[in-house]
Symmetry: C2
Subunit: 627 residues, 2 copies
């Protein structure tokens, strides 16, 4: 143990401990121990999410940030903020479940799409003669000659990783093997019955979804999901970019750390998936990753200094093929990682994957595609003009439960739907667990119901006369439950409504701008595709009723789930789909929303509540919605 | 310091010291200190080269190997063998110059060849607009668009290393840069006046020669040479392969160590050359390496188990393009290392480079190409049949001064030429230093003179009646000098003559086999190209007179120097020459000499001395030699 790391911090109920030096915070210690404590602000004492209790030992006294962010009850209960409190002795720390990132609901899958295979990786059988003094050809020359003769390959090359693998493979398996070939390069070898596998990943800011695929049939073999471990360094992208930039140190230590976290997670997923499928990791012959621009930068360890400040310039938006070994990923020796191209700004590979999966640019109807999140990406397709325009709006982290008084991620105990009746509040929690907070879909429901019951007005103001409305830290607030969230009762506050109004403003401004630049009137929109995990959990009618999405009278609304991962899978198994993704990225126009001429007015208008008419029919919401 | 490494060993006159554990030999300690002690046998107590003196401290007692290999005078002088003697206390060790590898004569250069450039790496100027919110294209997209527009590139991709480099380069240099492009890939960027550089290397078993080239003009910018640092692990290839195989340990530690030594040397050379030329290392946009099959395997860290035992199978003989970063080499971020293809067995890339440099397969005359060394590679070209056949003969390490009583490498103090007169012996040493031993060319001269004066007979036996012939450890021996080599006088022994006879036997058997399989009579041979550093120092007439090379009456003999490095330079700067090297490797036939039907008889015949007629005219030896 380094001599200065003499404080021993143990964490319950997770059962991990770690040594740290004086001056570290409890959050630092938890990160070092690999515990993912929620910290939306990245440890800057701004979000108040990293609540913990000190069960034993001495820490720095309660500071002003903690007094501001913790409730009186929290303080009475001896809650502290892990990012603010610094040990001065050995500690025993308790982390409540609400401060942990490990029980989130992950949506792995998009709605079913037919994935057609157009093999990029070919596999060829090799049955070789064993070498003799009379025929002592080099192993790889022998393999290449055979592949030329039996499969018609010309000008084959071999990756050095495959060259290293071959002598052992041949001699262990009686000179029988299967070669994995990518275009004109041998990238590795498997045993004689090996099937080339693919690893498709949607690298989300919050969640990571991954699939193991059979590259020859396009069949899914196994799937898994994980929290993005970078969340411990800040919930939103800017906090993470900020961390990378301000912990540059020697050789960009901060950036390396963040990319390392992703790579380790990918390797754990690869291990889990190949174990599930009963195949060696070296049979993974191709990898396809999608993510937004910041996530691909943080995964690939690309410079982010210029991405974090105006005019927010990416190092690249081109598709890339990088050897898996260059990224420390465990796969077939010469396997590549394919990163889908992005379109511009923060509109990245995941957006292209969404367009790919939805077949949006192939449709013959005017289509709007929306992926709601901390940043909401929106695409507009006008088939008559072959016009594809995308943008990103800063819709804020409210849908992830952040910056919301009693917000939480979509984990067990989160209220996911709300209905107000004249008798009170009806709600449902994830996992039917006791309510501990509100997740994004619950917030939308709650606000829609409050508006429907006129407890909030057209500008979002609370009716202070209502008996469930009281005054609190975040302005007026409406009490949804009597208990939950540390016994204080769960509330929706004026501030929370304002957060949703900001999101509404941004999304509506984005859609308005797209309609305008494509010359589309609202009546012309024929389909609205709502993609993303969050989008598939929201109540569509409530979403339209609060004006988070506009009501297009001629449009069918479709909630398609995580279509980014579907796009990743398509591009993994098909050269045609990869080509399509290139065409999408090359033909799509990127619109920088903040430079759009009447952005501010559209934003302000979008923040208001009055929507033309409330929709009440909640049936068959996947299809056309009637007034 | 690890607790078990408590013995402190210091070395003079080199002035290095190191801590080692009990059980290490003095040779181990020297290796650990980075001192290259000569050890032809790789530290197995067989060659007797690693003579050192213990100036202070206690070591293991003189053992039987040392008693056998050291002369009585050596033992009196308290010489020990570094590989046999183990410290039991702190030591001060003296290493005589004769046991050091650091003063060798290196031949960097082959005879002048015209090298025509056919650029593989293109460089393109980039003057970019600085990004704004209205035009926030990613840096690499901006660069690619410009290259498309101004240079007509289509479907350009970018290596991740170049992507990482670009944001910094652009912003440091006011959005001006120069892109280095290999085929359709951007591999890196330099400042706006950067010239793409190339690094060409001949990786010899003993010596490494390297050049820095301007890839746009083909001009040499700087050159350097080094001992192959692997020599400390054994002089001949088999000792090194043996070391790699028997020190496999965790993750092939021995092999990694040997390849690491080469890579570190390459990086030192790159640093030296770029400093000489005043260019940043990141301007090295291409690297070309030639070497024999074992050396390329040891450089690339390819499996060698199957190469070290019959039937001696290489992992690959194909050409390879490997990212410099995969080999830990310091260059332009996306630069590749090109390894020339080999032909078969141990006939590797250096042989192809020799054919390339000599233009052998393009000649319209029947040509024999010979590169004499520990292994002698020979190629036969029959233009009328388009027949190119190559083989390798095990000619032994005598030409490197090993396995020879008073042999040494071609370093200062080595006798490099010898003439016997009726008055005695005339000789010349390298650097005109006091004689301390015989290098290869001196041995050939000495034996030729002894044969001319009939002091050795047709079967190589010494005339014991000669007054300078006496009996010694290695049979009869002829005294060349009274002093030198520790004051014992330098001798040629019966064993030394036998070593040369073995080499003669092997080389002649090789040439006979080539004549036979190509259906060539000796009179048809029109040119003999003698390549390699050693080949350029030998006296050609003496070489023919002792029958080391046959006398072809219609042939011009040309000593061309190190043509492998010339071939490397050609393949470095020219796509055409790279293509030629592929064609050479694809069309050349490899002949396994030991399987040739009358190998043994030809070998035995070649060992004898009677050559048809002695040549006496020593003038104009670079051209046709008249009887």
């Amino acid at each position: 143990m380094p001599e200065n790391e003499k404080l021993h911090i143990s964490f319950s109920p997770v059962g991990k401990s770690v040594n740290v030096s004086n001056g570290s915070s409890v959050l630092d210690a938890a990160r070092k121990a690999g515990i993912n404590i929620t910290s939306d602000c990245g440890g800057h004492g701004k979000c108040g999410q990293c609540r913990i209790m000190i069960h034993k030992g001495d820490v720095s006294p309660l500071n002003v940030r903690e007094r501001t962010l913790l409730s009186e009850k929290d303080i009475d209960d001896e809650y502290r903020l892990a990012c603010q409190c610094k040990p001065s002795s050995d500690l025993k720390v308790f982390i409540p479940e609400t401060s942990l990132l490990n029980n989130m609901r992950l949506q792995l899958e998009g709605n079913a799409y037919r994935i057609e295979v157009d093999q990029i990786i070919k596999s060829c059988d090799l049955q070789m003669d064993s070498p003799t003094l009379k025929d002592s050809s080099a192993d790889m020359n022998r393999a290449v000659d055979l592949l030329k003769e039996q499969y018609g390959y010309k000008d084959l090359t071999a990756d050095i990783g495959a060259v290293k693998q071959l002598p052992g493979i041949m001699r262990r398996h009686g000179y029988e093997a299967r070669a994995f070939i990518r275009y004109n390069e041998i990238i590795g070898f498997g045993s004689k019955d090996a099937v080339p596998l693919g690893f498709a990943v949607d690298l989300g800011t919050t969640k990571i979804a991954a699939f193991l695929m059979d590259l020859t049939t396009g069949k899914e073999l196994a799937s898994t999901g994980s929290i993005n471990p970078q969340a411990a360094y800040g919930d939103d992208l800017m906090s993470r970019l900020d961390y990378a930039i301000h912990h540059a140190g020697r050789e960009n230590a901060g950036l390396c750390r963040l990319s390392q976290l992703i790579r380790e997670t990918f390797n754990r997923m690869i291990m889990e998936l190949t174990e599930k499928a009963g195949c060696p990791r070296t049979d993974i012959a191709d990898i396809c990753v999608v993510g937004n621009t910041a996530m691909t930068h943080l995964f690939l360890d690309l410079p982010v200094g210029q991405l974090a400040k105006s005019p927010y310039v990416a190092a690249t938006n081109l598709s890339m093929d990088i050897r898996a070994r260059d990224l420390g990923l465990s796969a077939c020796p010469g396997a590549y990682v394919h990163i889908l191209p992005g379109i511009g700004g923060f509109v990245g590979a995941d957006h292209v994957a969404m367009i790919l999966a939805g077949g949006i640019e192939q449709k013959d109807i005017t289509t709007l595609g929306v992926d709601i999140g901390t940043n909401t990406e929106i695409v507009m397709w006008r088939p008559d003009k072959s016009m594809l325009v995308s943008l990103s709006c800063p819709s804020g982290p409210a849908f992830e439960g952040a910056h919301v008084t009693d917000g939480m991620r979509a984990a067990n105990g989160a209220i996911e739907s709300v209905k107000l009746t004249k008798d009170g509040v009806e709600y449902k929690t994830i996992g039917d667990a006791p309510a501990i907070g509100l997740c994004g879909s619950g917030i939308i429901d709650a606000i829609a119901e409050l508006y429907r019951w006129k407890i909030i007005g057209d500008r979002g103001r609370f009716d202070r006369e209502n008996k469930r409305v009281s005054q609190g830290r975040n302005g007026s607030s409406f009490r949804l439950t009597e208990t939950g969230k540390n016994g204080n009762g769960i509330v929706i506050s004026q501030k929370d409504v304002a957060e949703i109004q900001l999101a509404k403003g941004a999304i509506n401004a984005g859609i308005e701008a797209l309609l305008e630049v494509t010359g589309t009137s609202p009546d012309m929109v024929e389909e609205v595709i709502i993609a993303g995990a969050f989008g598939s959990y929201i109540d569509l009618v409530n979403t339209i009723n609060i004006g988070l999405l506009p009501y297009f009278k001629n449009a069918a609304y479709k909630q398609v789930g995580n279509s980014a991962i579907v796009g990743a899978k398509m591009a993994l198994v098909s050269a045609t789909e990869r080509k399509r993704s290139q065409n999408i990225a090359a033909s799509a126009r990127y619109l920088e929303l903040t430079t759009h001429h009447n952005f501010s007015q559209q934003f302000a208008r979008g923040m208001r509540f009055p929507v033309e008419k409330l929709i009440v029919n909640n049936k068959n919401k996947q299809e056309r919605i009637e007034k």
